[in-house]
């Protein structure tokens, strides 16, 4: 069991981040403290195992060729891909507005029914518009 006040210093020391003064302090401490000596050995072993196990991965040899192909594909893609989604949004809004107008024309509908329908339709339209916009522009 290492002395709590030396644990971070031991980790700094293993990572080569301890200052010369702190390094000297730790060395004099571990000469007299078996717990910290053991913890230092454990962390050094762990550091070696991590370095060995977490080897640097390499990109595949095809990376550049595939990227070039994807760039060429993007160049061919029409620029107005967002247009259908904008039209979708417009369509939802129009639908909501039309529904509101229709309800408003019913002969026996009271004003409160028409107002509620209008508010509901507008909310629906805004909701759908928001969804369409998020789908188009979200997470970029």
């Amino acid at each position: 069991m290492a002395c709590p006040e030396f644990e971070d210093l031991i980790l700094d020391y293993c990572e080569g981040a301890a200052s010369p003064a702190d390094g000297a302090l730790l060395e004099s401490h571990i000469a007299a403290c078996a717990g910290c000596r053991q913890y230092l050995a454990l962390q050094r072993e762990l550091d070696l195992r991590l370095a060995k196990s977490l080897a640097r991965p390499a990109l595949s040899p095809d990376f550049a060729r595939e990227l070039t192909a994807r760039m060429a594909e993007r160049r061919r893609t029409p620029r107005l891909r967002w247009l259908p989604r904008i039209l979708d949004s417009t369509g939802y809004l129009s639908l909501a507005a039309a529904a509101a107008c229709l309800i408003r024309q019913l002969p026996h509908a009271g004003d409160w029914v028409a107002m509620a329908a209008l508010a509901g339709s507008a909310a629906f339209g805004l909701w759908e518009t928001g969804k369409a916009l998020r789908a188009n522009y979200g997470h970029r």
Binding site: G16, L46, L50, L59
Partner: protein
């Protein structure tokens, strides 16, 4: 920026940053194949946005931000749609190129049990040759936070690896690290 100088600028960025972006993607996605695909997508976005880059932040900050957003979007999509099989992720798990054996498997299982933010910093620290600065830059964290997370990760790892064998046997396998990171 004209066409030729734009292409040259992009090629310079690609040469300088593709491996760094790939390692960041590995630490965030936990899977080499997914990380490579995210790296490609990141550079497609860079290529598309480069003419509009005004230098309001440093190039490296800008590139790492695009890479992080790309990886995080992929993780969210994978989580929402469940299109990525954890078994498939296991087959192509990161860092090591050899099948884990014995203590290496224990080590990975122990990393998988760490809180994701600690595991992410720990993995990237070793992928980046023990550079606090590189990890801080790539993950957009203060250097002190990187060091704190790294130390907490190592302290917890030491405890987990010292646990009795019976507890190690049901340790979470490497793909769990993928899903947490």
């Amino acid at each position: 920026m004209d066409g030729v100088s734009g292409i040259q600028a992009f090629e310079r960025l690609l040469d300088e940053y593709r491996d760094k972006v790939f390692r960041l993607a590995c630490s965030l996605l936990g899977n080499e194949a997914a990380a490579e695909d995210a790296t490609q997508e990141t550079f497609l976005k860079i290529w598309k946005s480069l003419p509009g880059f005004r230098g309001e932040s440093s190039v490296s900050t800008w590139i790492y931000a695009i890479a992080r957003n790309t990886c995080l979007t992929r993780r969210r999509m994978a989580a929402a749609q469940r299109t990525i099989s954890l078994d498939a992720a296991d087959a192509a798990a990161i860092p090591s190129h050899d099948p884990p054996a014995g203590s290496a498997a224990d080590l990975r299982a122990a990393i998988g049990r760490l809180p994701a933010k600690y595991a992410r910093v720990l993995v990237l620290f070793y992928l980046e040759d023990r550079s606090y600065q590189q990890v801080a830059l790539a993950l957009d964290l203060p250097m002190g936070t990187v060091k704190t997370y790294l130390h907490r990760a190592k302290k917890e790892l030491a405890v987990l690896l010292a646990a009795p064998a019976t507890q190690k046997e049901d340790a979470i396998p490497w793909p769990a690290l993928n899903s947490k990171i």
